[in-house]
């Protein structure tokens, strides 16, 4: 969809922002460009909509050389989201979102209607449309920024550290929102960040840049984490890259044993003292409530009234990393597994999770190795948290 061919950007003062970049971004996937500041990732992004003109090389979007198109026309066909949202402070939210449709000559009524539609899509209330940007919170402004970029339904979305200026809680919300939108819209997204966790969370592919504008490695997150190309990438991924890898694997394939749970309304004197010391108590519907210590049972009352240790039940879509975390903190050395509705399905032991975690690591490494030797072979990919999968894959 977006193709960089031997692209370089040098400034008159001698600095090289991007150095001989060749990269092919598949249609419908999220490619995250990461690297420390000054590594050329933002320049790379900005060259796609000609906010920066390359010194040499060619860039094509949808098979068309971008230098052949009129710059303004090109930009209207590419969504652009920046940090601090860059909203027009003198225009209402609705008018901000309607900017590109109006530029494209849609007519005021149609553009407004489309803007209202997008407001809903990005999860903002309808009455926000009449407000001005500064009356919204940072997170809301960022949503408007995304809505404005999506207004004319462009196939490509460029996002330059869009969530860099909001607090971690809101950032996670916005990331989830983006994943949800992406599942629905399947845009080709280029996303710049310096936050490797954000990259792993959002990216179908991650391109790591190093100072001087050189692309070091471009791979799927699992492959990148399992087999960093060199020490630079390994350093950049950090000491917890093994754990980050686990965050990409879901619990779906991890087996569970039917657990013997105690209903909350069961009187404590009916509970047998045989078997495991820690037992899971569930609501009458089957939702886990907490762990009950059978060694210190109270003399009377029901199981639900006794003191329970907290439990965080996990769904199949939760990551292996969160399972590991729960297994470590659970007094029963096991995690409770539930359906999407939160009804208990069974228990998985800490050992089973450890075993799966170790295997997951080895698999990721093997998958990466296979791809290196046979580039065209279909990748054997773990079940990942990613909701969208790249439609085409090429080695970096």
């Amino acid at each position: 969809m977006i193709k960089f061919d031997a692209v370089s950007k040098r400034y008159p003062n001698g600095t090289t922002a991007v150095d001989d970049l060749s990269l092919d971004l598949p249609e419908g996937g999220v490619t995250v460009l990461v690297g420390s500041s000054g590594c050329g990732k933002t320049t790379t992004l900005r060259m796609v909509n000609r906010m920066v003109e390359p010194t040499s090389g060619t860039i094509s979007v949808g098979g068309r050389d971008i230098l052949e198109a009129d710059a303004a026309e090109l930009r209207r066909g590419i969504g652009y989201v920046i940090q601090q949202s860059g909203l027009f402070p003198h225009r209402t939210i609705l008018d901000n979102i309607a900017t590109v449709p109006l530029l494209l000559g849609w007519g005021r009524r149609k553009a407004r209607a489309r803007a209202a539609e997008l407001l809903e899509l990005v999860g903002l209330p309808t009455d926000a449309g009449k407000r001005y940007p500064h009356q919204l919170s940072g997170g809301q402004q960022q949503r408007v920024g995304v809505a404005r970029a999506l207004a004319a339904d462009p196939p490509v979305l460029l996002m330059d550290e869009p969530f860099g200026a909001v607090d971690p809680v809101v950032r996670t919300q916005l990331q989830n929102e983006l994943l949800r939108l992406q599942e629905e819209l399947r845009k080709t997204v280029v996303f710049v960040t310096h936050d490797i966790d954000e990259a792993v969370r959002l990216g179908d592919r991650i391109a790591v840049f190093r100072t001087g504008g050189r692309l070091v490695q471009c791979a799927e997150p699992a492959e990148l984490l399992a087999r960093p190309a060199d020490d630079f990438v390994a350093d950049f991924l950090g000491a917890e890259r093994g754990l980050k890898l686990l965050s990409l694997t879901t619990l779906a394939e991890v087996p569970y044993a039917p657990g013997q749970a105690i209903r909350a309304d069961e009187p404590v004197d009916k509970i047998s003292r045989d078997g495991a010391r820690w037992r899971l108590v569930t609501s009458p519907r089957g939702e886990p409530l907490g762990w009950l210590d059978t060694d210190t049972l109270p003399s009377g009352g029901t199981a639900g009234e006794a003191r329970l240790e907290a439990v965080r039940a996990l769904r199949d879509t939760d990551s292996l990393l969160s399972a590991l975390n729960e297994a470590v903190s659970s007094p029963a050395a096991a995690v409770a597994r539930v359906t999407a509705d939160g009804i208990l399905t069974g228990l998985t032991s800490r050992d089973a999770i450890h075993e799966r975690a170790g295997r997951s690591h080895a698999e990721a490494g093997r998958a990466a190795a296979t791809k290196e030797t046979a580039p065209d072979a279909p990748a054997t990919k773990n079940a990942t948290l990613r909701k969208t999968a790249p439609t085409a894959e090429r080695p970096a």
């Binding site: 909509n49 906010m51 930009r75 209207r76 066909g77 652009y80 402070p89 003198h90 530029l103 500064h134």
Partner: protein
Amino acid sequence: MLELLKNLASWLTSPAQWSGPEGIATRVLEHLEYSVLATLAAAVIALPIGLLIGHTGRGAFLAVNLSSFGRALPTVGLVTLVFLAGGLSVWPVYVSLVALAVPVIITNTYAGMAAVDPEVKDAAKGVGLRGRQILWQVELPLALPLIMTGVRLATVQVVATATIAAYVSFGGLGRYVFDGLAQRDLVQVLGGAALVAVLAVAADLALGGLTRLLFRGRPAAAR
């Protein structure tokens, strides 16, 4: 001092003083005519220059230092010079007043344009606005409050300085000041001065009201 104020009050309120071709009403209108025409001419000259400098970013040094130059230019000297060069006409008045107002408007227009958040301009370009569209749809509306401040400042200065018309034998409220000086009539001088001050403040308030009207409904942060 009290005597002086009493005389001043009776000078300002005497009906005879207000009517006739040399009455206050006529002088106020003359003063307004010089001021309004000069400010308008200055705006017509200065606004395009300020907008161009602000939009392109070229000549910023000029824009910043022009106001300094404008302030340094002694108006009395300028009006005398143009008078001596061109003879008895209203030109010296307009040339000096326009020369006074142009730098103020250029500098403020440029300052307004420069104060527009670069992120907003970047976003405007990034979503596909062309140069001229950025100027008219984004930069100008955002710079307008500071531009209006410049026009207000210029207007106040022009109104206060339009007294020099009388220096080269024209009308306006400066007549009272210069005639009073010649006749050693302090009351007349003070009356003229007070009227000029009132006119300047009124012009400032009127433009302030216009600005508020223009930005009605716009949030304070975007003003």
